[in-house]
Amino acid sequence: MIKVNGLYHSYSNDENYAVKNVEFEISKGEVFGFLGPSGAGKSTTQGVLTGLLPLQKGEVEVVGYNIRHPKREMFNKIGVSFEQSNVYGKLTALENLEFYRKLFDVETMNSMDLLKWVGLDHVANKKAGEFSKGMKHRLTFIRSMLNNPELWFLDEPTTGLDPAIASQIKDIVKEKNKQGATVFLTTHNMYVADELCHRVAFIIDGEIKLIDSPRNLKLQHGEKFVVVEHLENDVIKKEQLSLIIDRDKARLNEIISTGKIEIMHTKEATLEEIFIKVTGRGLK
């Protein structure tokens, strides 16, 4: 679906690159996460991939089209949801969707159905300018689904949304992916990436440091711990024990044998912890 080779991009048209030698491939049906802090080069990469930024150096192929010579019809296969809501404030939610729907040359989804999907059907005829930030974000999100995209670019799809709506958005992404959509997800939220992505790329200072599945990353870079809360002399005690160190393993057996365990769970490393470990930088 996406092939990127030796991608460079500079906003000042000099050697000061915002992205450097970026290379990756995304297969059909994959959810690929682009993980990095603000200013790492995520949006620049997505900008080039979606044709919003010119391809200066490198080779990029998106849904079979060479981005150096993009064709307008390729956008019939692509959907883009932006981090910043960008809807026409003086048009109603329904008018916004209907306008874009009529620009596609392929079969499109019903605007009202989409509005229902994200709980905006009751404000379908209200001007988008009167919407809250979250409502605008949902409208921007469903607009990107109008053409049933084969390749779906999502830029921070859950940022700034309350947990219930964020969960709803994640469910929609999972559902569309099940139906065959390939997703390019740009985020700095490791929980979203962890939950949705088959593979993630860590990008920092414009360079990709690592690409792998969240599971492999956790296995390779995480340490295996068990967190146990147990009663000892009528006092709740919390301990984090390694599953590798012998002394900790013996202690765990001892606690299990006393039978006074209240809570026990394994604690893998989070993507954020792995990111920090690999890049030496945080995700904020």
């Binding site: 919003l52 956008f75 026409y88 874009y100 001007k127």
Partner: protein
């Protein structure tokens, strides 16, 4: 074409939902109302002339008969009366005519702002009037009219070409840039850029909105002030040509900037320079060759030809053709530039 039409309908809806559309219509109506109810059909352009004569009674009567026929000439008794009258009317001039050694001489009293050419004009006027009264004097001046059928518009109608040029040709330049930068600022341009539509369709839709506004306001104005004596097909042609040129120029200029603030200075200078031909229009004596190269010059003068009963149709047709071609060339150039810069 379907996508262009959909984009135009969306832009039209946005315009109807904004104040700007109603403001422009409102301004056209205010302009019409001012022209109809405030501006006279023809401006008062005569200059008051106060004169006092320190002559013998017979000579005074002769001159009074001579000068007193005009409404613009007032005969007063002495110098101080002239000065007082001139202080009340700062556009007036005065003169005292007296005899000195049997020769008739005069003293001109001026406001102080008159330039040499105006002084000479007043001087020639007085001397001409006096010389004609000398027995035996015959004028050697031959008057030849270059254009026997020359038409003159009323002062009220004469203002319309300036309004149309400003409204259709020049303001469009500014407004279309504002539309583009507003879309950039709201980010909607990015959403449009990832839809299967071409940049030219986006730009052409904006130009069509400008054209719609131009046609509505121009037709309201011309219809209300001039009535049905105008060839509206030519008016349509001129508005389409000048509007296309103005908005394409606005698009081309704005393609070099990424914010309205940065573009505003250049657009402002451009509009101000383009307004220079108004001087030639209102003051025909100032008509250097270089000013004719400004696009607003032929715009104004072809609009004026349109308002004449027997205007030069070939001139009008030529301007329609020239500005349609120039407009389309600028549009192609703007489209070429915006393909690279619209979302950057």
């Amino acid at each position: 074409m379907r996508k262009l039409w959909m984009t135009f309908l969306k832009d039209a809806k946005l315009s109807f939902n904004s104040f700007y559309f109603y403001m422009e219509i409102g301004m056209a109506l205010i302009f019409v109302a001012v022209l109809l109810f405030v501006v006279p059909e023809n401006f008062e352009s005569s200059q008051k002339f106060y004169i006092a004569m320190e002559l013998e009674t017979a000579d005074t009567e002769t001159f009074q008969q001579l000068m007193g026929n005009s409404e613009d000439v007032t005969v007063l008794d002495n110098r101080s009366e002239i000065v007082n009258a001139m202080k009340k009317d700062r556009s007036s001039v005065g003169a005292i005519i007296r005899k000195n050694d049997d020769k008739i001489v005069y003293e001109m009293i001026l406001q102080g702002y008159e330039n040499e050419s105006m002084k000479n004009l007043i001087k020639a006027g007085i001397e001409g009037e006096i010389l004609t009264q000398i027995p035996g004097f015959s004028s050697q001046i031959t008057v030849r009219t270059l254009e026997m059928d020359s038409e003159k518009l009323s002062d009220r109608i004469n203002i319309i070409p300036i309004y149309l040029t400003m409204n259709v040709g020049l303001m469009g330049l500014f407004i279309i840039a504002a539309y583009i930068f507003l879309d950039k600022e709201e980010g909607v341009i990015k959403a449009y850029a990832v839809a299967p539509v071409a940049v030219w369709q986006y730009l052409a839709s904006k130009m069509m909105i400008m054209l719609m506004m131009g046609l509505i306001t121009s037709f309201i104005t011309v219809l209300a002030i001039v009535g049905f004596s105008v060839n509206y097909l030519y008016l349509f042609g001129l508005i389409v040509a000048f509007n296309t040129f103005g908005s394409a120029l606005g698009l081309f200029l704005s393609s070099f900037f990424n914010t309205m603030v940065k573009a505003m200075g250049v657009l402002y200078v451009f509009i101000m320079i383009m307004m220079l031909p108004v001087i030639s229009y209102l003051m025909p004596s100032f008509n250097p060759m270089w000013i004719k190269w400004f696009p607003s010059y032929p715009m104004m003068f072809s609009m004026r030809e349109l308002l004449f009963e027997n205007g030069d149709q070939s001139y009008i047709m030529m301007q329609i053709g020239i500005y349609l071609v120039l407009g389309l060339l600028l549009f192609v150039a703007a489209n070429h530039r915006f393909k690279k810069t619209l979302t950057v």
